[in-house]
């Protein structure tokens, strides 16, 4: 474990930024935290978390995949992929660190997604333990320890200091370059205990997952509650786009006039055209689309991934849904623990 004073944080940022682009949460003019490229003058936000999740760094909302040139009947395919630059994402919370595991299990399994893998190999994650969790947080439900977030390097923040500990070789290498002073873990343990106490007081602390999991398809699929839960769903994509673990994408072509760029962009299972094809649509109503999103996170994903839930409990959808319908309400209604 290493220690640095909170006052010297900018010097540390500068050091990290020497070898790689550094991104960290910083407040925009609305006072919302957004991941911002660090340069002198960019201030690390005090907010709990960013509005958009850091999945953008590895799986951006829009990314060009390949280009085509057509001439007469002929087509030329151009591989426009480029090697990503090295970058460091600082200030990732425990829930978002888990989200990378969840995304890895989709994108890195065979056949590996080279776009995602490329960024993943070049990105170092520095997580920061939570000290002031919000009422919308429920990471504990998914056995995530907000006081010990993981990633390549973990940072704990106390009143006046930061404590650093590396979890991976990449993290150790980066940390060794920062020349921090070694220290014990007493202060960190104290901070952990404080946060732990608050985590237990949170309104969603006791949300439980017993009613969900890979084997619960039959028990949940035809439940009548889906209809009432989804009755006022607007069918917008807010929950999916702020979600750190939503990974569905669409592949589209854009004709620039000179060439065709095939790009992929985030898609949302809440959209009416998500499964629409020439011969029909297997999810015609919003009830089915709504059910798909939550079944995917709470049943289908665990069924394919050793029981790990596809939700990290970050609470973004809880605070951002235009009609305040969210995975917590779904779990409470269907989970039978009321």
């Amino acid at each position: 474990m290493f220690k640095s004073s909170l006052n010297s944080i900018n010097e540390i940022f500068a050091k990290i930024a020497e070898n790689a682009t550094l991104y960290l949460p910083s407040d925009n003019k609305d006072g919302n935290a957004v991941y911002t490229k660090w340069e002198n003058g960019v201030v690390w936000s005090n907010s709990l978390n960013t509005v958009k999740s850091p999945k953008d760094f590895f799986f951006p909302q829009v990314e060009d995949m390949m280009a085509f040139k057509t001439e007469g009947k002929n087509i030329e395919i151009n591989d426009i992929r480029e090697e990503s630059e090295d970058f460091v994402v600082f200030g990732v919370r425990a829930c978002d660190v888990r989200s990378f595991d969840i995304l890895d299990r989709v994108f890195l399994v065979d056949p590996c997604d080279s776009y995602y893998a490329n960024r993943r190999e070049h990105g170092i994650i520095i997580s920061v333990a939570c000290t002031k969790p919000s009422e919308t947080c429920f990471c504990k439900t998914f056995d995530i320890d907000a006081t010990n977030p993981g990633g390549d390097i973990t940072v704990w923040k106390t009143e006046d200091s930061l404590y650093w500990s590396a979890n991976t070789d990449r993290g150790r290498e980066l940390l060794s370059k920062l020349n921090l002073e070694e220290c014990g873990d007493e202060a960190v343990n104290e901070q952990k205990a404080k946060t732990e106490a608050i985590l237990n007081k949170l309104p969603l602390a006791n949300l439980n997952t017993d009613g969900f999991g890979g084997d619960k398809t039959d028990a949940l699929f035809d439940r009548p509650e889906w209809k009432t839960l989804s009755e006022s769903c607007l069918g917008c994509g807010t929950c999916t786009f702020v979600c750190p673990t939503c990974q569905c994408y669409d592949i589209k072509d854009f004709n620039t006039g000179n060439q065709v760029i095939r790009y992929r962009c985030w898609d949302s299972c809440m959209y009416s055209d998500f499964t629409k094809m020439a011969h029909g649509n297997n999810r015609l109503s919003q009830v089915e689309r709504f059910r798909q999103r939550f079944m995917h996170k709470l049943v289908y994903y665990p069924a394919n991934n050793d029981g790990i839930f596809g939700c990290a409990g970050c609470g973004r959808c809880v605070s951002k849904c235009p009609i305040s319908m969210n995975i917590v309400k779904v779990m409470k209604t269907l989970g039978g623990n009321d």
Binding site: F254, T256, G257, N258, Q259, I261
Partner: protein, 144 residues
């Protein structure tokens, strides 16, 4: 790059009944107007949907001009009156978003006004050249 080397791309939407004929007349009378003006013929100026204008900018236009029959002379009686309202609001909105207001224009050109057509295009092109490349409403993908 020197200013005088810069060739703007100007899209002119011309209504079939007046302005397109006006452009024809300008050609027949050998009146000069910039070759950078690309004319798109539309059945009536009110055929032009705001997306057409934005689309033109996206695909690389530096200026978009919309020409139709004089108010009162519309082949379909009232099409250009609607155009007038739509474009007033659209141009005002583009200005509000900080897009240079000289990049867009509506001009009424009748079939007999070949000279006006040429003069309008010359004037418009000059203004667009003075503004330079369209940077505020461009789609970089289309430049590749």
């Amino acid at each position: 790059m020197q200013v005088n080397e810069y060739k703007p791309l100007i899209v002119a939407f011309c209504c079939n009944w007046c302005s397109y004929a006006g452009a024809d007349l300008a050609g027949n009378n050998r009146l000069n107007y910039p070759a950078d003006v690309k004319i798109i013929r539309v059945p009536c100026s009110c055929r032009v949907n705001p997306t057409f204008i934005l689309r033109a900018f996206q695909k690389g236009a530096d200026g978009v001009i919309l020409c139709g029959c004089h108010p009162g002379d519309c082949h379909y009686t009232s099409g250009n009156y609607y155009t007038r309202r739509r474009m007033s609001l659209l141009f005002s909105m583009l200005d509000y978003l900080g897009i240079e207001r000289e990049r867009t224009r509506v001009e009424w050109v009748s079939a007999a006004e070949g000279a006006k057509f040429a003069a309008t295009m010359n004037d418009f092109a000059e203004k667009v050249v003075a503004l330079g490349k369209n940077k505020r409403l461009e789609d970089l993908r289309c430049k590749k």
